[in-house]
């Protein structure tokens, strides 16, 4: 092992190709965990109580490390002890120009492309300090082919459909999320520089469908193509 050689991300073969600048993804993927107002609505009074003590102010983020990235259409194997996985369809923003302390107007120009993304996790009962395994399982992130877009399109919301065994299980409208894509890039860039090739997931939809072993998932979004995979039971 050479610790001084460039470390190739374990999931680098699962990184989709990018046909526009910056030409390749870095493998850094960050997502907004709390973006859907429906989650806060569902929590109701609990938002103001312990442990949360009020609605979140800054974007609530999570990291999808390299081990989570899998080829878009590869089967997902449930971890031991789980009989279903939550399938959260979302929109991935591919950063084209370094975003460091940009305002929302400039943020849209930092997005080079959009892609379908799906984040597979175990259902949470608390958002205070979620257990890492719930959101960082091996192979739990899939990215569709990035679609290059001009700034106005790059920052636009999208409507995504999730089909389980051919039946519509959820429609996700990112336009209802707490922040626009441009606002999210801007607020994240206040403390965390997003580099060209980094990916920002705009948010986890509330009440994402639970998919069991043996079921097939198909996700599509207008202008974003589609991705499909199967969920397999624990070995």
């Amino acid at each position: 092992m050479s610790l001084t050689a460039a470390s190739t991300p374990a999931g680098s073969d699962a990184l989709p190709a990018l046909d526009v600048a910056p030409w390749r993804l870095t493998g850094t993927v960050v997502g907004a965990a709390i973006a859907d107002p429906a989650l806060l609505d569902a929590l109701g009074e609990r938002v103001g109580q312990a442990p949360y003590r009020g609605a979140p102010r800054a974007p609530v983020l999570y990291v999808k490390p390299r081990h989570t990235l899998a080829a878009a259409c590869s089967a997902f194997t449930l971890p031991a002890g789980a009989d279903a996985v939550e399938v959260a369809a979302t929109l991935a923003l591919v950063i084209g120009h370094t975003a460091c302390r940009v305002d929302a107007a400039a943020a849209a120009g930092c997005i080079a492309a959009r892609a379908l993304a799906v984040d597979l996790g175990l259902p949470l009962v608390s958002w205070y300090r979620p257990a890492a395994p719930a959101r960082a399982l091996d192979g739990s992130l899939r990215l569709g082919p990035p679609q290059p877009a001009a700034a106005d399109v790059a920052a636009a919301p999208a409507t995504l459909q999730v089909f389980v065994d051919g039946r519509l299980a959820q429609q996700v409208d990112t336009g209802r999320f707490l922040r626009t894509s441009a606002q999210l890039v801007a607020e994240v860039s206040e403390f965390m520089t997003l580099a060209a090739g980094d990916v920002l997931l705009v948010g986890l939809p509330h009440a994402a469908p639970l998919v069991r072993g043996g079921q097939r998932v198909h996700i599509e979004g207008s202008g974003l193509g589609s991705l499909q995979f199967t969920v397999e039971g624990a070995p």
Partner: protein, 269 residues
């Protein structure tokens, strides 16, 4: 050439430094550092980078019982007892910084603090690693200073990235020290000085979740890969630091990591 560990590859401690237009492997030398090509330079004649190119950076929260006690007042829920699962979160590459670097200390915040931590570097990767085999997957260690700004703490997905994943606020180095040179990672004193004053003292024997069980536990849900880094948490003794302060984190036998805090103006804010 007489550099330590010459010809033995990873058996010697190494740093990654930038000098005169290139990035080099460097080794300790009485006069500072020696590059792999033989040049000897003063410690301040090179730019110190994190000593490995990290893959995934995993960080532990509340992994020293004394630190849990220290934070008890602000924890909205009782902290984890020692028999519960580790509290881990992930960091991104943008947060990393090398030895002798500058970290932004926003003027508007009231409580920014250092955290001296033993950083474990994974060598041989793996999945479902058994605890008795876990130490064979550890390539070595370095020192980490993982800053936090508590003003930004919110009770959603703690610790939130605005607190713990800020640009250049996770400092690593100076040396990658091979595991064989360290021996028992739970026999090491940790100390932090601010402007020469000792402010934090702890011992790795007081970790709640130790290195071997951590490696085993992580590998149950994630495939560990070469270059992955585990930051194992900090003991008690965290106090506010200000712009201009020099913060030195030292772990016995591993190294002495220096960082300086800089004002808004230095970062164009």
């Amino acid at each position: 050439m007489s550099r330590p560990g010459a010809g033995t590859g990873r058996t010697a401690r190494t740093a990654r430094v930038a000098h005169a237009g290139a990035i080099h492997e460097a080794h300790p030398h009485a006069a500072g550092v020696q590059l792999a090509d033989g040049r000897v330079l003063a410690e301040d004649a090179v730019v110190w980078l994190p000593p490995v190119q990290p893959g995934t950076v995993v960080a532990l929260g509340l992994n020293y019982a004394d630190h849990v006690q220290e934070l008890a007042k602000e924890l909205a829920r009782p902290a984890a007892p020692s028999d519960s699962e580790p509290l881990v979160f992930f960091k991104t590459a943008a947060s990393l910084l090398g030895h002798r670097g500058l970290t932004w200390r926003p003027r508007a915040v009231r409580f920014m603090h250092y955290e001296c931590e033993l950083a474990v570097i994974i060598g041989h990767g793996g999945r479902n690693i058994a605890e008795p085999d876990a130490m064979a997957h550890v390539a070595g260690y370095t020192v980490a200073n993982d800053y936090a700004i508590r003003d930004y703490l919110e009770n959603w997905h703690r610790p939130n990235l605005r607190v713990k994943n800020r640009d250049g606020a996770t400092v690593l180095g100076p040396w990658f020290v091979p595991a064989a040179e360290v021996g028992d990672p739970h026999a090491l004193a940790l100390r932090t000085w601010v402007n020469g004053k000792l402010v934090q003292q702890g011992h790795t024997s007081n970790m709640v979740h130790r290195v071997a069980p951590l490696v085993a536990w992580l590998s149950r849900f994630m495939t560990l890969a070469p270059g992955d880094v585990i930051l194992t948490g900090t003991p008690e003794g965290v106090v506010n630091v200000d712009a201009g302060d020099e913060v030195v984190c030292e772990i016995e036998g591993i190294g002495r990591l220096v960082n300086t805090l800089a004002d808004d103006a230095a970062f164009g804010r």
